[in-house]
């Protein structure tokens, strides 16, 4: 074998060994970074998570809307300590919706989702600010996104009758869609006022 080829082969073997060593080092570093990130995320969640219950809360029945099959949601009545303060009450309800579905299959919003902020304006507009996970970990699709938004809206609507509409923010920002389909630029109506009874109907009823 010519000497040049031997040298080239030798260099190649050395390069492969160096590459393997570097690759294992990079792998270890990526793993360590991932662990750090998870720890950071956990710490951030703990800091952001406001105390969910206070001593003045009263345990009562609440309706939480979880999935009741692959294509619809239904209320489940649970006993929850709930605040008299509507903002705190809403946070407690959304926490329950996110953290405690009766079974994993009944989950409508991603497990990592946290409520970063919740506000109620004087006109009854609720503004719910969720972490990125609500959008980034949501399976894309009209049905899955509709079930997610409906579970949030109907849980709030059923337990806080003063709310009139809902705005969903992701990490403090208005976003175009939840996961590519359902429009989040507008509002979702809550507790719509009962339609006025037409006078003719009243007349017809009283005529009987």
């Amino acid at each position: 074998m010519p000497r040049g080829v031997k040298i080239a082969l030798g260099l190649l073997v050395v390069a492969v060994i160096i590459g393997l060593i570097s690759f294992r080092g990079i792998q270890r570093r990526v793993k360590r970074l991932a662990e750090l990130q998870t720890a950071d995320e956990k710490a951030r969640h703990e800091i952001l998570a406001a105390p969910i219950t206070t001593s003045s809360d009263v345990t009562q029945a609440a309706k939480i809307y979880w999935a009741a099959g692959p294509d619809h949601i239904a209320p489940v009545e649970v006993q929850l300590p709930l605040s008299a303060n509507p903002v705190e009450r809403c946070r407690q309800l959304l926490h329950e919706l996110t953290v405690n579905p009766p079974t994993p299959g009944q989950r409508t919003i991603p497990a990592d989702t946290t409520v970063m902020g919740f506000y109620i304006l004087p006109d009854g507009t609720a503004i719910a600010d969720f972490s990125d996970a609500l959008s980034s970990e949501m399976p894309s699709g009209i049905l899955s996104e509709e079930m997610a938004v409906d579970s949030i809206a109907q849980t709030l609507e059923s337990n806080v009758p003063t709310l009139r509409r809902l705005k969903v923010l992701i990490h403090g920002q208005e976003v175009d869609t939840l996961a590519g389909n359902v429009d989040l630029t507008g509002f979702f109506d809550l507790n719509p006022p009962a339609p006025a009874v037409p006078p003719t109907t009243v007349a017809a009823k009283s005529a009987r």
Partner: protein, 217 residues
């Protein structure tokens, strides 16, 4: 079936490019809906319809570009095609646009709420261009869903109203159709639904047109 003289059917395969949509094992919604759209297009053309598609490759036109394409035709029906991440396998759902009630009904009406005298200004908000066609879209969605209930066993008999982003700016009857689901049905079975889907849409559109609802508000 009547070979209709109009309208133009705008088929919108959702997502595309870097937006894969729903993901299954080694398959993405963007690719499946493109194949379904091509089959549905052939089925609709066989019925005598003129069909255009918002994309015919792996591009990703913006929502506004897709709506603008439909709005460029005088008498168009917009059908956005999707595959779900969830749902009972092999069922199909039809959606029309749902807008929230205006916060201030007087102010939200075109030109309404102004203290100035004179005729109302009939400007159409691009972001809510579909609002004027919601009733027509709902009628069309119900008709299409009625056909799907027969063609795809287990599908609901009524359509739903949901704020679907793709429909928001279309100035004409517009619906979204979603097949379930990318995780529970093989890609071949999903793709094969294109032809029955196109035939069902064609039958519904004939009824819709005969009822005089085409393009109406």
């Amino acid at each position: 079936m009547l070979p209709p003289s109009g309208p133009i059917i705008v088929l919108d395969p959702a997502h595309g490019g870097t937006d894969a949509g729903a993901r299954g094992e080694a398959v993405a919604e963007k690719d499946i809906v493109l194949q379904i759209a091509r089959s549905a297009r052939a089925a609709l053309e066989r019925q005598g319809y003129r069909v255009v598609m918002t994309r015919n490759d792996d591009s990703n036109p913006s929502y506004d570009d897709r709506a603008a394409m439909a709005n460029g035709y005088r008498d168009a029906i917009f059908v956005s095609l999707h595959v779900a991440s969830t749902g009972t396998p092999r069922t199909v759902r039809t959606y029309s646009m749902l807008f929230a009630a205006p916060a201030d009904p007087l102010g939200a009406a075109a030109g309404g709420g102004s203290a100035r005298a004179g005729p109302p200004v009939a400007l159409v908000s691009w972001a809510e261009a579909q609002r004027a066609y919601v009733a027509a879209s709902r009628r069309l969605a119900d008709l299409i869903q009625g056909e799907f209930a027969q063609a795809f066993a287990g599908s609901p008999s009524n359509s739903e109203s949901v704020p679907v982003r793709a429909l928001r700016s279309v100035t004409g009857p517009a619906v979204a159709v979603e097949i379930s689901s990318i995780s529970a049905v093989t890609p071949d079975a999903l793709t094969a639904s294109g032809e029955p889907l196109g035939n069902a849409i064609a039958r519904a559109i004939v009824t819709f047109r005969q009822a005089g609802a085409g393009g109406g508000k």
